[in-house]
């Protein structure tokens, strides 16, 4: 059975790779299979994890049922009113609940994690010193670069003032910092994509063809 699975995986992998040459019916067939299988998979996963495990086991059949889950289930059912045009406005209520709850959760978490703690770590000694008190020039330069990057980056994302004059100059430095960052991020992401390709090659050469251990 495992061999059948490996052969299926290998054939589908090569079929998807055929898109690199040009679009063709084999690729289209694989695309359709992938979409169908993934839709079915997630339908089953969400049914068993949310409806069965959370609601049925947690609220209906549990020894100590959690009554709040009934409220969640009702909100979820209200979403289905979307299918009936006359009462489709009812579906906005559960949506509003989701958006509001998430906004409330994020308000404090994002402030703390992405704003307060990041500002605190930016406020630091520009001149870095070693244990003997001598200046560590490389670290100091690095700290200065970070500081300039933070300040000019914030200037670039200021929308209430046109980028002109000295402010515009600062914003330009900011966009340069951003582009260098994006370039570095791009390189890192290329590594990530390469890793995925290596994983597939390992599967084809190792598990399928048995050429590598």
């Amino acid at each position: 059975m495992e061999t059948v699975g490996i052969w299926c995986g290998a054939i589908l992998t090569l079929a998807i790779f055929s898109f690199l040459y040009k679009d063709n019916p084999v690729y289209k067939a694989c695309e359709a299979i992938f979409i169908g299988v993934s839709a079915g998979y997630y339908a089953i996963v969400y049914f068993f994890d949310s409806i069965y495990k959370k609601f049925w086991l947690g609220a209906v059949t549990a020894d100590q049922p959690e009554e709040w889950l009934f409220g969640g289930a009702i909100l979820g059912v209200l979403f289905l009113t979307r299918l009936f045009p006359k009462i489709s406005w009812v579906a906005r209520w559960p949506l509003a609940f989701i958006v509001g709850a998430t906004a409330g959760l994020y308000m404090v978490n994002y402030f703390v994690t992405n704003a307060m703690n990041q500002v605190a770590s930016t406020i630091t000694d520009v001149i870095a010193r070693g244990d003997a008190g001598d200046i560590n020039w490389i670290q100091s330069f690095g700290t200065l670069v970070i500081l300039v990057g933070v300040i000019t980056g914030l200037m670039y994302f200021f929308f209430s003032k046109e980028h002109k004059g000295a402010f515009g100059g600062g914003a330009k430095v900011g966009i340069w910092f951003l582009m260098v960052t994006f370039g570095a991020s791009f390189g890192y992401t290329v590594m990530s994509r390469m890793s995925l390709l290596i994983g597939r090659m390992d599967f084809l050469l190792g598990d399928w063809l048995g050429l590598i251990n």
Binding site: L105, S192, M194, L197, I198, I212
Partner: protein, 305 residues
Amino acid sequence: MLNTIATVILLLMGLSLIYVLYLTIKGRPVERRIVFLYIGFGVMLPLLMKMTPPLPITSDVQRLYDHIITLPPGSKVLCAFDYDPPSAPELHPMAVAFVKYAFKHNLKLIIMGLWPQGPQQANMAIAAALEDPAVALFPHEQGVDWVNLGFQSGNEFVILSMGSEFKRMFPRDTRLIPYDSIALLKNVVNFSNIDFIMNFGAGYPGTKEWVQIGVDRFKAKLGAGNTAVQATEVYPYLSSGQIVGLLGGMSGAAEFEKVLGEKGKATTFLLAQMFGHATVMAFVIIGNVAFLVLGRKKKDAAGNN
């Protein structure tokens, strides 16, 4: 034999790239789809070679290692497996290396996932770790040395609820054994009873959510292993001290294997990664040359007209 053939073909490919550059400079750029062929062979052939390139350990990985070795035997580590098979080539090797270390040093693993396939990936990592006879000698009884609590939907709300009580989100493990009946989970109520959290994340929900809620709200100590794409977003948390260390992508996984002394897939893949990157760099140069040459030709043609 395969090793030699692969080396020879790679050398020929390198020479052919110089020829492609020459053609491009002459104004005769090659068919663009040849890039795919070069990348494919550039990644495939090194897998057949038995070489490991030199690998320095970066400070991000060293910091994580320095923290892990301070965990005394018996420490409870919450392992969050937040990835699926597409991200497995990068994250699976670091997960396997960590599981091996945990079993060898008697760290107790409490496994869960915010992604549906996460706990399955965890089982695969444990199975891969136990294939090593040296690791299998150490205690690895499910329920005593490790437990898999499974997947729970709800994303960051799951982490928030775990801050009060793990049992509310995971009333039973993947074997359907009730939480209170599991020996490892005795006296484990919430994050205050956990010594360390190790997150293997590939996106949302992942390390950022664990930092926002697990670290900043519930004061847990967190180490992260991320795909290279995700790692760039997590670096600010590393420099601010919100995470103790970071493994970024396959190179991070290889460094982690090296620092733990566990040679695994990431180390063997590193050569392929290196050649893949070299091929990409070569084509970036060729592409830019083509852009300049063809741009100049267009300008000359427009000038003549």
